[in-house]
């Protein structure tokens, strides 16, 4: 097919030094220009979430402690006056310990009893209510080059085909389109299923060709095969 001389001539082709400088330098410049916040956008977002969700709740806890303790002190004093008994010292002390966790919304009658009060704990930062199963739709485009015959019909099992006609300046789309000659298409699928095989058919007057789009686990990519 090719002589040794031709193979050697081919192998001698090297990318020019100027291209290396252009690509590597442009990448470095791009990195330098990037401001601090754009590089750490994820960190910034995390900080913002913490600021919005955690800090106001911490404020509530603080307020709750203060008011709860203050009210309890009053109650404790009353009880000490009414029942002057050493045996009550222990529950009262216990109540004091618990009171640190009591929020100001606890009803008055509960506080006046000497029973331990169960405090309603606030959710931990990791337990913050998060919207369950957020629906994320992802449209993936696959460029396809087909050598069509005269008035070939191209159809897909799922998704949309887009064909751009530069001469006419128009874009055709749909699950079935007609094309002639060497054609570049874009096959767009919304959130492709990795377990599913999608089909594309090219029907000419004489033949029918079938292509499959499926997930290639060895490359972790969706691939189109003939």
């Amino acid at each position: 097919m090719f002589s040794e001389k031709e193979k050697n001539a081919y192998k001698e082709i090297k990318a020019p030094v100027s291209l290396r400088e252009k690509i590597v330098t442009s990448e470095k410049t791009e990195t330098k220009v990037k401001p601090f916040f754009s590089r750490n956008i994820a960190t910034l977002a995390a900080c913002l979430i913490i600021a919005i969700c955690i800090i106001p709740q911490m404020d509530i806890i603080k307020k709750g402690n203060e008011s709860g303790v203050a009210e309890e002190k009053t109650v404790t004093v009353k009880k000490e006056r009414e029942i002057v008994d050493a045996s009550f010292a222990e529950p009262i002390r216990e109540e004091k310990e618990i009171s640190a966790k009591v929020s100001p919304s606890v009803p008055e009658e509960i506080k006046t009893e000497n029973e331990p009060v169960m405090a309603r704990s606030l959710p931990e930062p990791g337990e913050m209510p998060i919207e369950e199963n957020p629906t994320v739709t992802e449209k993936i485009s696959f460029p396809v080059n087909l050598n069509c015959g005269e008035n070939s019909k191209i159809s897909v099992s799922e998704g949309t085909l887009y064909l751009y006609l530069p001469e006419a300046g128009t874009k055709i789309s749909g699950s079935e389109i007609s094309a002639t000659g060497d054609t570049w298409l874009v096959w767009e699928i919304e959130t492709p299923d990795k377990t599913k095989i999608y089909e594309m058919k090219m029907l000419t007057e004489e033949t029918e060709k079938k292509y499959e789009l499926k997930y290639d686990s060895s490359w972790h990519l969706q691939q189109i095969t003939e």
């Binding site: 090719f2 031709e6 990318a15």
Partner: protein, 160 residues
Amino acid sequence: MSFFHHSKDITSAYDNYADLLYRLAFSYLGNDFDAGDAVSETFVRYLGRLSDFISEEHEKAWLIRVLTNVSLDMLKHRKVRAYIPLEEVNLSVHEKEFEESVFDKLSEISPKNRGVIILHYLEGYSVKEIAKIFGLKESAVKMRLMRGRDELKTHLDKED
């Protein structure tokens, strides 16, 4: 560490694969300037890629595939330079020599079959490896090789 991580170290990626990609782009596009543009575009996409590569082989295959798509896209949309300015001609050192030998032959093969022919006959890739790179069945690669050879044979017969 069992996985090869995509470090986005463009310097090492460039040093490892630039020559291969450039040769391939040159074979598709036929001149230094467009080949350079295609390689640049490929590395821009490399930097923009979000997920990691599972191996160095995967990284190489991905780059070849993207470069092929970029080159074919440039051919399709006629972004290839129709002429080269006179003052830039001297920069194309090897172009002339190459044009006389291999490129004459390669230019007779359709772009669709050309990549497969180059990788198999000039870069020494096996049919199986090419099938993996382009996401084709081995039978499809063999078919493209056969068609490419036929195209070349037809051209040579015409010359004779």
